[in-house]
Amino acid sequence: MGTSVDPCSLTVARAVAEIRQGRLSPVSLAQALLQRIDRLEPQLHAWVTVDRELVLEQAHESLRKLERGEKAGPLHGVPIGVKDVFYTEGMRTTAGSAYYADFVPTHDSAAVARLKRAGAIILGKTVTSEFASAPWPNGQPKTRNAWRHEHTPGGSSMGSAVAVAARMCPAALGNQMGGSTLRPAAYNGVAAMKPTFGLISKYGVFPCSWSIDTVGIFARTVEDLAMLVLAMAGHDPLDPTSAQRPVEDYVSAVHHPKERPRIGLVRQFFFERSDQEVRKHTEDVAERFARAGATVEEATLPVSLDDVFAVHTTISQSEMSAYHEELVQDHPEAISPDLRASLRAGMFITAVKYLQAQRVRRRFRAQMEALASRFDVLLTPTTPSPAPRDLTTTGDPVFQNTWTNLGFPTVTLPSGLSKSGMPLGVQLISPPFTDAALFSVASWCEGVLQVWLVPPLVGANPDDAPKR
């Protein structure tokens, strides 16, 4: 078997096609990615655990299945990175916490199990901040931005974002309670999706806030995002928040881009909080979409986002404090001071206030859905600025909090570079359970933008512009 391209530069779709057609062995692909990890990990620190023997064993098994003529799943032989909050059977799962440093689950999370069922290989566990919440475990910066090491990689799914950007894996899992997937994706120049709340099971994922948390996906193309969502979506009785809705064909949606989409550009709040370069860049992107045939109109927010954040804070703090109550009481020393303080503060929110916040959120969701339904997508910058040159922060989740809190699906696409050479992104948002329609518009936008960003440390490669 042999392929002329660098296996590390392959998208998920392309890797699957190469493997199925016998031009690439799953073993060669896994070996190439492991070598890439060996080369770049000392600089980037994106991984908590990479079990080389297990990865190669899985890759050999994928190859044997092909040789036996067994049916190949939609992700057959493709290595995927997994944020270290997802349970992985027999593989350490630390949740970025000292307390769980040696925790080895005896079963897979539902998302991981479904990826494996689709033929994917679990390449390893990627770095997260402590319980996917506090900025850094014990205040120690670890993972580095794939573009410039002195800039924040974002968080809390920083390891997954950096690993995909650095071509250590073609796709990876994250999750999002505030902006933990889309923000690091934008800071590192890759695409990401946070599906509708409840579309993908959270069974076996360490929770931050169970009525907000959503599984997220990192990849380098919209098609790859859709392939992973399709592999994982669907009702799971083990997750009480799992939606009982039919799964749509997200990959087909990508292959049928929505022509002339109606785009609602949200300047209000998002432009007020962006730096000048991001504002201008987002206007330029909207102008490009309009020139390509989209209808772009101003979208006016029906609710104060400061109030949506207040609801988010009240709910997430209450749920996090409830989940970690025993740990805070019995082993407070195992939690970093900032997170411990936040968890303790959450314990003084009364049940009445928590429930009122849930009720207000329901109202906000209905109002925002009415706005979003007037368009195919809403458009905003993904972040207020490029990745800040500050390793004490993971950046500002302010542009994601609203949509995560209200359960809306969102996609970020890399859209260019700042004057200083750091990635910029735009965020697309649609109403709950319009994930397929969102993929269709995102596919169109990706085709108009034609932006594929490669960090300098990876080196230019003519194969980096994905081919379908």
Partner: protein, 85 residues
Amino acid sequence: MRSREQLEKERFLRGLIPLAELERREEELRANSEQVLRRLTASAQESLDGQAAQEARPALVRTAKALWLVSHHRPEPEDMPGFYW
């Protein structure tokens, strides 16, 4: 209250909002949520030891502001969340 340095940084990030307006909003929110904060702080002092209560103080300030903002919304009678979708 955030430091002058933090406010300057926010002004830079937000670009369009003058520093004076930011400070006015922050002061208004702080003053309005003061009563909520007093109640939270009293509860914390009752149930936590001195050091833990002190450590929780900045987080309690954030919590108090959020609770004050939430308390100004009146949900409708049909807003009774329990099931998710």
